[in-house]
């Protein structure tokens, strides 16, 4: 859970606790259903992109980031 050090249960939990605060709230663009490549999502999270802040591995570990990117790109279950 979010009590871990940048460790999340899975990408769905991460999406709900972090990404969704903007991407489900008219702050960031909608991500669902766009088939965005996972590599692109991972890169934007690590680099940040204009208005969007960057996130460090201590906040979002590599494995959970890969999982959320996969879920977003394939339309798998998100929170």
């Amino acid at each position: 859970g979010s009590a871990g050090a940048g460790q999340w249960r899975d990408g769905a939990e991460l999406y709900q606790k972090v990404c969704g605060h903007c991407h489900e709230a008219n702050v960031g663009p909608v991500l669902k259903g766009r088939g965005l490549p996972p590599e692109y999502i991972q890169r934007v999270v690590r680099m940040g992109n204009r208005a969007m802040p960057a996130f460090r591995p201590t906040e979002i570990d590599d494995a959970t980031l890969a999982d959320v990117a996969r879920r977003i790109s394939t339309g798998a279950v998100l929170a």
């Binding site: 050090a5 606790k17 702050v27 680099m47 208005a51 802040p53 460090r56 906040e59």
Partner: protein, 515 residues
């Protein structure tokens, strides 16, 4: 070996830097020291109007606890290499997670994120630097504890220690965060661990309940400073009130700020309204509604007043929008509500209740923040112009109407000179205002970047001439802001630095303090 082009700590050779990295790796493990430039990217993202290179880090280290930090201090002293501690590292608009000076090693404490204790009877918590407000919120929910904390707008991803250490603010009755902290643990440059207040005593159980301890009270010295690495912080939590009644009062004209402040001050000082009230300008509300600047104005210069008026009319936004809440029982809130209604009627304000606010994003996120519920609704601000440029210009003001109007007009005039919009709000203390202005610009546009730098510079110095100082500032302007507070204060700060950190290893340059 590191490459020649890499940012190295000031005055440290590549060979010594390699030794530092090797010795720190032996302490924390290889994977917890990063020197690869690609992997350091997330630490480099800044919103300030200066080149990324100016705040480039040489490495990051992510210790797992106090003991590792103590050992890192030894290495830092040996090679005189500076470390820049961050907690959650979400100091957006103030420098984010990047160091104050190029080449410093960022000490990222996000892995240290234990909620050590929550006492539901005394309503206190003791947390580590990596704890986020979202994490604390989830913890309180899971344990069914009716306790509220106060958080800033980036709540979901920011945290109480980092925010308090920069003396940030929130929006509940506990909104002045440093005031509601109680007890700190600090690793000093020499590796000693200091606990402030009652925490200095062995077997004490009053660390989180009595702030001062005995003798000099040192907590304040470790906020907005570089005299130690804060590794634990105690904080007071607010019991969830039986009845919470948030509301907004909208006013039609910019000049109304005078009567708003005059009407609110007595209510705030007498604690009829107990929370950190916000008085937000139209252009703060608009991007959080959300409304795009480009839909109303694409010409040169600042957005004209007529376009702002049009936004107000189209989206039911006031020129000023007062956000406040009543916290109590139904009976006490009913009684105080009559006062609120009378004040609104007497000043020409339109009240919007929680029921009437349904469907408004801008109102919803405010009402959530006033009860300490994390969200990121306010990040809509960064879409006003887009492009990732934002610095907070945040002068302190008296809570007097004439003063707030004067500051607003001064800021608006200077911003317009550089083509920027007045996007501001007043966060109302008992007697003070944090006048928070978001200097928003397109960071991908080099001309706007230069103008934003020059604009902040002029704002800072014009306000200083009128006797107005910043409560907090971004790392690129740390030195200039420190200079506005005069030489005696800076000399004392330097003498303290020399005594506590003679090798200048903890964040030299933070708030202008360096040997």
């Amino acid at each position: 070996m590191v490459s020649k082009s890499k940012a190295l700590p000031k005055g440290v050779s590549a060979a010594d830097f390699d030794k530092v990295v090797r010795e720190i790796r032996a302490i924390v493990g290889d994977e917890h020291v990063v020197v690869d430039e690609d992997k350091l990217a997330p630490y480099r993202k800044i919103m300030m109007p200066v080149p990324d290179e100016q705040h480039e880090l040489s490495a990051s280290v992510t210790p797992d606890g106090v003991e590792q930090i103590q050992r890192i201090m030894k290495v830092a002293n040996k090679y005189r290499v500076p470390v820049y501690p961050i907690s959650t590292g979400k100091n957006l608009g103030y420098g984010s997670a990047a160091p104050v000076q190029r080449g410093q090693i960022v000490m990222d404490l996000r892995r240290m994120n234990r909620i050590i204790e929550v006492d539901p009877e005394l309503c206190t918590a003791l947390v580590e630097p990596g704890v986020t407000y979202q994490q604390l919120y989830d913890y309180l929910q899971e344990h069914k504890l009716p306790l509220w904390f106060s958080c800033p707008a980036p709540s979901a991803i920011a945290g109480p220690v980092g925010n308090m250490v920069d003396r940030g603010v929130g929006y509940t009755p506990y909104g002045e965060h440093f005031m509601f902290s109680c007890g700190m643990e600090v690793v000093l440059a020499d590796g000693q661990v200091l606990r402030t207040g009652m925490g200095a005593m062995e077997n004490s159980n009053t660390w989180q309940v009595f702030k001062w301890g005995y003798g000099p009270t040192l907590d304040g010295m470790f906020t907005q400073s570089n005299y130690g690495v804060v590794t634990k912080m105690g904080m007071w939590l607010m019991p969830a009130p039986p009845d919470f009644r948030p509301f907004c009062i909208q006013y039609p004209n910019e000049a109304d700020i005078t009567k708003i402040v005059e009407a609110l001050r007595p209510l705030r000082i007498a604690m009829v309204i107990p929370n950190a009230v916000v008085i937000a300008h139209t252009l703060w509300e608009a991007p959080c509604t959300p409304v795009k600047r480009a839909d109303y104005y694409t010409g040169p210069g600042a957005i004209p007043d007529e376009a702002v008026k049009k936004i107000q009319a189209d989206h039911n936004i006031g020129a000023w929008n007062v956000y406040a809440g009543l916290y109590g029982t139904k009976e006490t809130n009913d009684a105080n509500w009559k006062i609120i209604e009378a004040v609104a009627a007497g000043t020409g304000g339109k009240i919007i209740t929680q029921e009437a606010s349904k469907g408004s994003q801008a109102l919803q996120y405010r009402f959530d923040l006033m009860k300490g519920k994390p969200n990121l609704g306010e990040f809509g601000l960064y879409n006003w112009r887009g492009g990732g440029g934002s610095i907070w210009f945040a002068p302190v003001s008296q809570a007097k109407g004439a003063e707030t109007l004067k500051q607003m007009q001064m800021a608006k005039t200077i911003l317009a000179k550089y083509g920027f919009d007045y996007v501001g709000e007043f966060i109302v203390g008992w007697r003070d205002m944090h006048h928070v202005i978001d200097l928003l610009y397109d960071r991908s546009n080099p001309e706007q970047m230069q103008k934003a730098y020059a604009c902040y510079d002029e704002l800072l110095h014009t306000f200083a001439k009128e006797g107005y100082g910043m409560y907090r500032a971004n790392t690129a302007f740390a030195e200039k802001v420190a200079a506005t507070y005069g030489p005696v204060k800076r000399d004392v700060e330097k003498r303290l630095k020399k005594a506590l950190d003679p090798n200048n290893i903890i964040a030299p340059g933070r708030c202008g303090i360096s040997l």
